[in-house]
Symmetry: C2
Subunit: 129 residues, 2 copies
């Protein structure tokens, strides 16, 4: 399963986040992708997503490190769902893991791009603070 | 969010399951859809999915009733991710809920169809029995 191109893209995107290389990071997203910044707040489209990552990096004092403890890919035609245990580390943050859900779609050029980036998984169903 | 066409499709698909109308149920799936029957076992394509639902219905002595306690839709272009609390009831089954993940894709004809049906959610990441 780790050989699936989507798993490789997730690992490469994590490396871009950890290097704060947000220009490269945008290559992994579809033009109209949605990123859940926190439950109730989404960034829509590459420009909002790029600005969100810049703000998140600053929020964590440029120390955020993201990795996946486990990834399972379900793949159907031009759709893929990645279920992941996503680990977040940063200064002054107790290390946390999230049950993340990522949707990828395959373009007509054959490339997979993230269309929905929801690291919060089913937390979105819980009552908002 | 319940007004999203994908939420309406999930409710209609539940009604088809509960009525054991598996011909109508197949209308909700893409031709190459994937259904997680249980962790480690997937049905691929409409014919396998239809056979799986027939077997599941028999397994539960034709008493299975499915509903959603909550659904949250994330939508990006022609992709949608539904996060749901899915409730299962059947004779001789303690009522259970699952954190389900459903992926839908919009066809060129504008219709949304389920491409990935994973009622087990992140259970797929747990060690298999």
């Amino acid at each position: 399963m780790q050989d699936h191109p989507v798993a490789q893209l997730i690992a490469a995107a994590d490396a871009a986040i950890n290097a704060q290389d947000f220009e490269r990071l945008m290559d992994f997203y579809a033009d109209d992708a949605v990123l859940v910044i926190r439950p109730g707040l989404n960034a829509c489209g590459k420009e909002q997503i790029r600005q969100a990552f810049i703000a998140i990096a600053a929020h964590f004092n440029h120390s955020l490190q993201v990795s996946q403890d486990a990834v399972h890919i379900l793949h159907s035609g031009a759709s893929a769902l990645a279920l992941a245990k996503t680990r977040l580390k940063a200064d002054e943050l107790d290390e946390i893991t999230r049950d993340a859900t990522y949707v990828f779609a395959q373009d007509t050029d054959g490339a997979w791009r993230c269309t929905i980036d929801n690291s919060y998984g089913h937390q979105l169903l819980e009552p908002q603070q």
